[in-house]
């Protein structure tokens, strides 16, 4: 019996919303935008985390990252993580020290040289020219698509291994092995080209391999004229079951040879935790901003419902005269508000699916739309409807039938 009352209400809500289509749409727009932005932000955050864990799996758990500064992996607040971006105090001597630690079998420094390369006078920015050792191939499991990776033979030579997107942008061809370009005014020969790597917005190594140019460590030191800017050193534990011992050994070796400087040796898991912490904080923050638009959308619904209630005072009076109880009038307007907010929620979810698709098609971000966030979005839109149509509905239900019937 109750069901019929409700179905009648949904029908009448539909009629009254359809009667003012434009107004209903703009009322829903706030909720649509709110839901779409929250869902998109969360799916981008989830996508980043997925990329990150993919990279960790790719590098393997036995790879450690040596960085300068005290980084406390258990305290994953964003402030601590910012130190990842600070100026590094790792010196080439430290790299040599790490090479002598018996618990490590591969040492690959990331010596940042410059971020531009030129070819025939054309500059290409946004690249990472990085000096590293041949060990990087085994640490980061790099397997060039064309040519070869750096080896002992290429030491101190002006050769470079290009990331796939650098190769494409610089030479406009897939296989530019043997061609030449300039770094810091010096000519370099392309020695190899890496395959497309599943990097993304953020990578564990803080370097997108696709837009990197790897040159021999010794060449990099020569270019930098002794001033090394080693972002990090990736090392691989000799025994994959004794990763923590290897980390401790590396830590103590560095402390002995380079007193006064502080180093952190982080496992991939710790790095991921730190990065996840940053992503979570950022996601929460942006979601909160997006959530405000949802709040504004809800207030918009309340506004329009209040106007609707006062416009339809006479209708309310008549409905009461023919026997609608206060609760039935309340239900009618609650359901009308709910139709607005849930309608907005559904359109918002569809819009976020579309945004998700467009992001996947036209950007290299990889948003991951999990169903829990869609469920949450649906629940939130219902909640918004309940909360913001409560006041207008209570106002409608409380109207005095005589005064309501007398109103124009």
């Amino acid at each position: 019996m109750k069901i019929n009352i409700y179905s009648g209400n949904v029908k009448s809500a539909w009629y009254s919303l359809r009667a003012s289509r434009v107004r209903s749409f703009f009322t829903m727009l706030g909720v649509i935008i709110g839901i779409t932005s929250v869902v998109t932000v969360v799916s981008l955050g989830t996508g980043l985390k997925h990329q990150l864990s993919g990279q960790i799996n790719r590098l393997g758990p036995d790879v450690l990252s040596v960085r300068s500064g005290q980084i406390n992996a258990s305290n994953t607040s964003s402030l601590t993580t910012l130190s990842l971006l600070g100026i590094s105090s790792i010196t080439p001597a430290d790299v040599t020290t790490l090479g002598k630690v018996p618990q490590l079998k591969a040492v690959a420094p990331f010596d940042f040289v410059t971020n531009t390369v030129t070819k025939n006078g054309t500059r290409l920015g946004n690249v990472f020219v990085i000096g590293t050792t041949p060990d990087l191939a085994s640490v980061a499991k790099l397997d060039p698509r064309f040519g070869n990776f750096l080896s002992g033979d290429t030491d101190s030579q002006n050769v470079a291994v290009l990331g796939s997107s650098v190769a494409l942008k610089l030479f406009n061809e897939l296989n530019p092995v043997g061609e030449s370009f300039n770094v810091d005014g010096q000519p370099f020969t392309v020695y190899g080209v890496l395959p497309q790597s599943p990097g993304g917005l953020l990578s564990v190594a803080q370097t997108d391999f696709n837009s990197s140019v790897f040159i021999p460590f010794s060449t990099a030191q020569r270019l930098n004229a002794g001033h090394a800017d080693i972002l990090q050193v990736l090392v691989k534990a000799a025994d994959s079951k004794k990763v923590n011992q290897a980390a401790l050994a590396a830590q103590s070796a560095l402390a002995r040879s380079h007193p006064g400087a502080s180093f952190s040796v982080l496992t991939q898991k710790q790095l991921a935790d730190i990065a996840n912490g940053v992503i979570n904080t950022a996601t929460k923050f942006i979601s909160a901003v997006a959530g405000i638009s949802l709040l504004v959308g809800g207030i918009g619904i309340m506004d329009v419902m209040l106007v609707s209630v006062s416009e339809r005072t006479r209708e309310i009076g008549l409905r009461k005269a023919v026997g609608a109880t206060n609760r039935q009038v309340l239900n009618q307007f609650m359901i009308e508000g709910l139709v607005l907010s849930v309608g907005g929620g559904i359109i918002g979810i569809l819009a976020s699916l579309l945004v998700d698709l467009l992001l996947k098609l036209y950007t290299n971000w990889q948003p991951v739309l999990d169903w829990p966030i869609l469920v949450v979005a649906a629940i939130v839109s219902v909640d918004v409807g309940i909360v913001f149509s409560a006041v207008p509905a209570i106002k409608a239900a409380a109207k005095n039938p005589i005064e309501a019937l007398r109103s124009e």
């Binding site: 019929n4 009254s16 006479r314 209708e315 026997g323 206060n326 019937l405």
Partner: protein, 278 residues
Amino acid sequence: MALIQLKELSKIYGFGDATVLALDEVDLVVKRGEFVAIMGPSGCGKTTLLNMIGLLDKPTHGTYLLEGRHASRQRADRLAKLRRDRIGFVFQSYNLLPRLNVLDNVALPLAYKGMSPVRRATKASDILEIVGLRDREYYYPRQLSGGQAQRAAIARALVNNPEILIADEPTGNLDSTDSKVVMELLSDINRRGNTILMVTHNPELTRYAQRVIYMRDGRIVGDEKTRLGEVAKGARRLYYKLRPFSDDEILSGVSALMKRVETKPSSRRNTKKKAKNA
């Protein structure tokens, strides 16, 4: 047992200096099946009385017994259900919901009863047959003439088989032809056994009533049984008072006050009385 019994019913609006005594200790008994017309000048409390009887308003003092039970001391939801099941309303301005078609408008009280949509439509359709609007079921109120709209409103008032039909100037917005149709319909409904209370300003309409109540300043000042088909005596008096001037005078556009100088003393007294009444 009387269907409706009012005992010393009073209604006071406002407070302080702005207090209005809308109903002043009204006593009234209405029996089942009566057709009661209520007449009186504007603001005399006719509509307030109907609102009380229709359970839309609560009295300040006094008791209202509907079928022997205290009706005015119920909770709001109980009153709503009593309105739904016992009382049908017909308004001067029809009050059909513009967004619903005629059928849905008529079925509205049934929806609040929780009847299934199919049964609602069937029942509303049957009632529309009675008022002669079966072929207008899917029209919207704006597509109906005044008389049709009022008949649809009467159908809505009847759909729950209420015992009491309350009509507040049902022909107020209608021309004489439509008025006649609507009044014949109300008369038919009354013959089927429904009790009808109707407020009207038109003395002609007392022809349809069995009883005429005259009100003034919140009190019932006259209660007259009348034969069907005849204009009530009190109403007739009122009828002639409402037309103090001849058609010629109205057409000439000259005020009766200016003509008073030339009239005989007797008629001058009459004019004074009229002025006082107006």
